[in-house]
């Protein structure tokens, strides 16, 4: 019973496969032969929405999109990298590396750790804390959650992904906000 509750909790959290079964229930693999999932599924993806980095010393981005490459390992772990274009507060190029996990199956929410840098144009503020305009790009460490993500016939579609990240400003911190309205990917 304990095992069932634990598996159910993990399934609800969306971070494990839908394998929460009542004790004694036969696993699907034992009743029917399943196709062997490939270890690596490579793919590409594209997404669009709001992505901005805001702090007391600089503001970057706001609207735009990205394209990237992704490796899904054992249908569970995700490695991905993308580069994009943002505009509104200048023309900026966000570069994001991410690693995380997804739930197996049709409904496949995911959670990723992200490392994002914003190159290019921005607004910069010269203040008492930052008496010289900062020239280097911010690098934010954060997370990205995809609660409405689906795997369909070798492709992925995800709606309303959101993420946050922080970057040191010496002194202070800046926050990276990310809201992807839609993300679409294809795996090979």
């Amino acid at each position: 019973m304990k095992r069932t509750l634990l598996a159910g909790a993990l399934a609800l959290a969306g971070l494990t496969a839908v394998e929460a079964r009542a004790e004694g229930e036969q696993p699907a693999a034992e009743t029917a032969p399943a196709a062997e999932a490939p270890v690596h599924r490579f793919g590409v993806y594209s997404r669009g929405g709001v992505h901005a980095y805001l702090s007391n010393s600089r503001s970057v981005g706001v609207f735009g999109g990205s394209v990237g490459v992704r490796d899904i390992i054992q249908d569970r772990f995700i490695l991905q990298a993308d580069v994009g274009f943002l505009t509104n507060l200048g023309n900026a190029v966000p570069v994001q590396l991410a690693a995380g996990v997804q739930r197996k199956g049709l409904y496949s929410p995911a959670a990723l750790l992200t490392l994002t840098s914003f190159f290019g144009e921005r607004l910069t503020f010269v203040t008492v804390d930052h008496p010289v305009a900062i020239r280097t790009p911010p690098v934010a460490l954060g997370f990205l959650l995809a609660p409405a993500r689906f795997n369909v016939a070798g492709g992925e579609i995800s709606l309303l992904e959101f993420g946050l990240g922080v970057s040191p400003e010496f002194p202070g911190w800046g926050v990276a906000y990310q809201l992807n309205l839609v993300s679409v990917g294809v795996s090979f």
């Binding site: 901005a52 805001l54 007391n56 503001s59 706001v62 394209v67 580069v83 994009g84 274009f85 505009t87 509104n88 507060l89 200048g90 023309n91 900026a92 190029v93 570069v95 840098s117 190159f119 290019g120 144009e121 921005r122 607004l123 910069t124 503020f125 010269v126 203040t127 008492v128 008496p131 010289v132 305009a133 020239r135 280097t136 790009p137």
Partner: protein, 332 residues
């Protein structure tokens, strides 16, 4: 794309040039001559001048005049004459007016030039618009008074570069005067830096008195002087900030907008006569109290002299004069 990102990132990492500290002692001595009482008297004279003039015929703006009543309360002729006469009375400046008639509007800019001794072909332009709405104490009698006082003090010294003091006409009608001036620079582009003043005298220590916007954070108290630049003039923002620290002049907030400054999110930062300079690729600095982000009298009858802060206004003009002297290569 990665390469583009790397290149853009590299461009954002340009080195910072430290201040030439040998220039500072004579500059510090010179800015003590900026006279607070004289500044406020000039503002009072300009306010009286605006009040005494019949507003410009606003039939050109059509129905906009009823939506934006300030458009029908613009005065400019007498203030332009006052600016011209005060600069001429200094006796050391070469005076002219640039009159450009086009598209139903005639702009008449005031120009006064003080030749540099080492690089006379390089011009540092110091400007403010003299056309204004209502009594126009802050916007922009303070800016015009700053130009006149800086001209009075700096014209007593020698500088490497030429100083050109300019009063722009019709700023309130979409920067007509400065746009036409910048167009004329196509024939002879000698301006190496433009310093524009627009609204310098309104300050408040009240928490919440300063407004910001998405991507444009600002301190809560509207008690600071703002200096704006774009990527072309980023180093100038750093330099005036360093001069402000060296002279402990005032609370300063610098903003550097990206590229030429014509991004949708930073559009409010383009709204004065530095805009045409930025868009044409010139180095330009905009010095302001942030106007409508702070002043409830912006473009309405409450823009009166009694709400100005003479002490902070004086400091703003002092640090501006210091920076102009530094950039012009002097005083000698």
């Amino acid at each position: 794309m990665l390469l583009a990102g790397a290149l853009l990132g590299t461009a954002a990492c340009a080195p910072v040039t430290p201040l030439d500290t040998t220039q500072l002692p004579p500059i510090e001595s010179m800015i003590q001559e900026i006279d607070k009482d004289r500044l406020m008297l000039t503002v009072a004279d300009l306010v009286a001048t605006h009040k005494s003039e019949e507003p410009m015929d606003c039939s050109l703006v059509g129905a906009n005049g009823s939506v934006f009543p300030e458009l029908c309360n613009l005065t400019r002729v007498k203030a332009g004459e006052l600016m011209y006469n005060r600069l001429q009375q200094l006796g050391t400046l070469t005076m002219s007016r640039q009159v450009v008639a086009k598209d139903k509007l005639t702009a008449s800019n005031v120009i006064a030039e003080y030749k540099g001794v080492k690089y006379p072909e390089e011009v540092v332009l110091i400007s403010a618009h003299f056309d204004a709405y209502y009594a126009a104490a802050d916007d922009n009698s303070t800016g015009v008074a700053a130009v006149l006082e800086i001209a009075r003090v700096l014209s007593q010294y020698k500088f490497d570069r030429t100083l050109r003091f300019v009063g722009f006409d019709l700023e309130e009608y979409a920067y007509v005067g400065s746009a036409r001036y910048v167009e004329s620079l196509r024939e002879k582009n000698d301006v190496v830096l433009a310093v524009n003043f627009d609204s310098l005298g309104y300050y408040s220590d009240e928490p919440g008195s300063q407004q910001g916007a998405l991507g444009l954070p600002a301190p809560s108290q509207g008690n600071f002087l703002t200096v704006l630049g774009n990527d072309n003039s980023l180093a100038r923002v750093d330099e005036i900030s360093a001069l402000n620290d060296a002279f402990d002049s005032t609370i300063m907030f610098g903003i550097v907008t990206s590229g030429l400054g014509n991004n949708a999110g930073s559009a409010p930062l383009l709204r004065s006569d530095h805009g045409p300079f930025w868009l044409s690729g010139h180095q330009a600095i905009f010095i302001t109290d942030t106007a409508y982000f702070r002043n409830p009298g912006y473009h309405n009858p409450k823009d009166t002299i009694d709400v100005l802060d003479p002490v902070r206004f004086h400091r703003a003009v002092q640090i501006s004069a210091a920076a102009i002297a530094y950039w012009a290569g002097g005083p000698r």
